[in-house]
Subunit: 398 residues, 2 copies
C-alpha cells in the first residue's frame, strides 16, 4: 500500500461555473449555492494540488483499500472494509470490471468510504441515506465500521432480500413512502445533525465527495490495462459512477500519466433515462418520468449535471436499454461465470445496443451481485430422482 | 502475478497410509482404494516437488487469481474468475479473512478453480456436483467459464435465493431427494463420464485436488500478516477448508518460509459435528445424525479424515456452536460492517465459545456472504412518514 496517505484535496469547485471555488469543508451536500436554481442544481467537485502528486502513485498494484490512492482523495477518516482492487475479466467480448467483489458486493463501497469519512470529519453524530438498495446497505456498513449510527430511508418496493441486507449492518431502517423520503432526510439532517450521504436537490448533486471514490476504478483500470480503455460503459442512475470514472481519467491525462482518454457511455433503463434526455436536448440536467423496470438500482427520475459532463466532455454518448436487453446481458454474463444484478448488466447491454467499434479495450462496469435482484428467490427447479429424468432435462449440447 | 505457472504436482498420496502413492492422474475422486473400507474412506492428497519451489514465491502481494501460486497447485487448466486475494480485516477482536469477496462470494471458488481444471484435464464432457448452496453455484460458475456443462443436484430445502444463484450460471439444476443425491451422482459419473466435484464415499473424501485450492488462503494469510497466525478458526462442514489451510501452513514450514504453525480449530454446528465426534472418540472419521440448524452450509452428517488430521496434527481442537451463538457472531460482525452467512460466522462463534488465549494473531475465516442465508428476505422494516416516527424508533445511543 502506498505510504503517503495525506490527501492533497484543496477545496471544492462548482460544476456550474469553474471560476467559483469553495473551501474543502464543509462538504456542500446541497450543491453549489451560487449557480443552482429552483430547476437545476449544480454539484461541486473536489480540487487537488496536482503538482504535488507523489511519483510512482500509479506504479503500485491494485488491491483492497482505496487508501493507496489517498493523495487524490478527500481525507479518509473512516476505516476501510477493504473496498476496491476488483478484478477485470474478459466476458462476452468486453472487459468487465467486477464491482460485485467489493465489501458489500457493489461499487457503492468506494463512494461510502469517502462520504462516511466526511461525516466523521464534520463531527456528525450519524449518517442518513435515502436508498432502497446497494447505497443504503453500503452506507450502513461503513457507518457501522466507523462507529456511527445510520438511518436508512428505504422504499417499500425494494426486494425482500435487499431489505435483509440493509438491516444486517445495524442501521435504523425505515420504509418510507417515496414522496416523503427526501423531505424526511432533510429534516433529519437539519434537526439531528446527521450527515447526508445521498441527494437533497432538485436535480441530482448527491455528496460532493462521493464521485471521488469512483475515480479509483479508473486508477485501477489504468494499472490493470497499462493504458486507458477506449470506451467505458457504465450502468447509470445518478451518474456519480460515470462522472467519477471520467474524472479519474481526466486526472491521469492532466498528470501526464495517460495519453488517451476513454469515451464514456451512460447506460440507462429505457423506462427512464434523464441523462439521455438531457444530452439530447442540450440541457444541463433533466428530470423524467420513470416507467416500469426491474432495474431498480438505476431507475432514477432526476438526473444530474455530472453525467452530462462525463458524456459530452469525453465524446461519449447515452444509451437506453430495455429490461429485455438487460436480461439478455445478465444471462450471457452468467453463462461466462459472472452473476450481475440486472442493473449491473447495463454496461454490457449498452455496449451491445450501441453496436459501435472502438480502437482499443472496451470496459463495462459490472456494478453489483445478482443476489440483489427483484426476481431472486423465484426460480423454479425441476425435480428428479432418476438418471433418466436428469438426462431428459439436460439442455441441448450438454 | 508470478510468471512461473508450471505446477510442481508429482502425484497423489494416501492419507490412510503415507507410504501409498499414486500417479497424479486420474484424480482419485473416490478416495484411496487401498486403505478405504466400507465404513471409513480415506482421501488422497497431492504431492509436489518441494525442492523446486521458485525463490520469491511468497514475496509477491496477494491478489485475484490463484495462478500466482501455480507451482504448489495442481495444473490450472480452467480459466480464472479472479478468485482469491481477499482482504484480512479486524473485527470483533479477531482477524477475519473475508472470503465473501470471491467471484461467487464464497471460499468455494478457490476449490472449484482447481476441480474444474481437473475435469478439463481429464477430458470430461461435464461436471456434476451434489450441493444445495455455495459449492454448487461455484462449480456451475467455473464450469460455465470453462465452457463445460454442469449438472447440480440440489435439495429442495435450500433457500430460494440460493436456488436462483445456482441457476444463474446456466447449469442444469435438479431438486433431488437427499437420499437419491449421491447414488444419482455416481450414475451420472459412470454413465455420462461427467467429472464429480463433490463427494462419493461413505465418510467424506470429496475431490482429491479440492483442498489444494484452499491452501492459497494460508499463503495469503502468511503474506498479509508477515507470519503464520497463532490460531485459525474455520467454519467446518466436510473440513476441506480446514485441511487445506493447514496443509498450506505445513508446506510453508517444510519450505522454511514460516517458523511457527497455527493451531487449527474446526467450528461445527452443535446440531451435528462429525469431526468433534471423531476427535473425541479417536476415530479416523465419524458419521453423526444432524438435528435442526439454519447453518445449512456446514450441517454435514458425514465427516472426513482430513478434518481429524488438521485438528490433531496442528494441536488444535474442535468446537461445537449453537445456532444462537452463530446468530450472535453474525450480528456482531454485521455491526462492524461484515455481513456473513450464518455458517460463515462459525469461526468467530467458535473462537468465542472456546474462550482460549493465543500468543499471536487469531484468524477466523469468514466463508460467505449473508445473502445466502435461510432467513434472508423475511426482515420486517418499520414504516415511517414523519420525523417523530423516525426518532421514536432509533436504537438507544443513536
Amino acid at each position: 500500500m502506498h505510504q503517503d496517505h495525506v490527501s492533497l484535496a484543496t477545496g471544492q469547485r462548482s460544476l456550474g461555473d469553474p471560476a467559483i471555488a469553495y473551501p474543502l469543508r464543509p462538504p456542500l451536500t446541497r450543491g453549489c449555492p451560487r449557480t443552482s436554481t429552483g430547476r437545476i442544481a449544480y454539484p461541486v467537485e473536489v480540487d487537488y494540488a496536482y503538482d504535488r502528486v507523489p511519483a510512482g502513485l500509479f506504479d503500485q498494484p491494485p488491491g483492497p483499500d482505496i487508501a493507496r490512492w489517498a493523495p487524490l482523495l478527500p481525507p479518509l477518516s473512516a476505516p476501510t472494509l477493504g473496498e476496491g482492487g476488483t478484478p477485470l475479466l474478459e466476458a462476452c467480448g468486453v472487459l468487465v470490471k467486477d464491482e460485485s467483489r467489493n465489501p458489500t458486493w457493489s461499487h457503492k463501497d468506494r463512494l461510502n468510504r469517502v462520504t462516511v469519512s466526511a461525516a466523521l470529519a464534520e463531527g456528525a453524530p450519524g449518517v442518513v441515506v435515502a436508498s432502497s438498495g446497494n447505497h443504503g446497505a453500503s452506507a450502513a456498513a461503513y457507518a457501522a465500521r466507523a462507529g456511527l449510527p445510520a438511518i436508512v430511508l428505504a422504499s417499500a418496493g425494494s426486494p425482500p432480500a435487499v431489505q435483509s441486507f440493509v438491516r444486517a449492518y445495524g442501521a435504523a431502517v425505515f420504509s418510507v413512502p417515496v414522496e416523503r423520503r427526501w423531505p424526511l432526510m432533510t429534516e433529519i439532517v437539519d434537526r439531528l445533525g446527521y450527515h447526508p450521504v445521498s441527494n437533497q436537490t432538485v436535480t441530482h448533486t448527491g455528496h460532493p465527495y462521493g464521485p471521488e471514490g469512483y475515480k479509483t476504478i479508473e486508477y485501477e483500470l489504468f494499472v490493470q490495462l497499462g493504458r486507458a480503455p477506449a470506451a467505458v460503459f457504465a450502468p447509470t442512475g445518478y451518474a456519480e459512477l460515470l462522472y467519477g470514472v471520467w474524472k479519474g481519467f481526466a486526472e491521469l491525462r492532466r498528470l501526464g500519466v495517460a495519453g488517451t482518454a476513454p469515451r464514456m457511455f451512460s447506460c440507462e433503463p429505457a423506462a427512464g433515462g434523464p441523462h439521455a434526455r438531457a444530452v439530447a436536448t442540450g440541457a444541463p440536467a433533466a428530470i423524467v418520468e420513470v416507467g416500469p423496470t426491474d432495474a431498480y438500482g438505476i431507475a432514477c427520475p432526476a438526473g444530474g449535471h455530472r453525467g452530462v459532463r462525463a458524456v459530452t466532455d469525453s465524446g461519449g454518448g447515452t444509451v437506453l436499454v430495455t429490461d429485455e436487453e438487460l436480461r439478455a446481458a445478465q444471462r450471457d454474463l452468467g453463462r461466462e461465470g459472472l452473476w450481475q444484478e440486472l442493473s449491473g448488466a447495463a454496461g454490457l447491454a449498452g455496449y451491445r445496443k450501441l453496436g459501435a467499434a472502438f480502437d482499443g479495450p472496451v470496459v463495462c462496469v459490472g456494478t453489483s451481485s445478482g443476489f440483489k435482484d427483484v426476481g431472486v428467490g423465484s426460480a423454479e427447479i425441476a425435480e428428479a430422482t432418476t438418471f433418466d429424468e436428469v438426462v431428459a432435462n439436460l439442455p441441448a449440447g450438454s
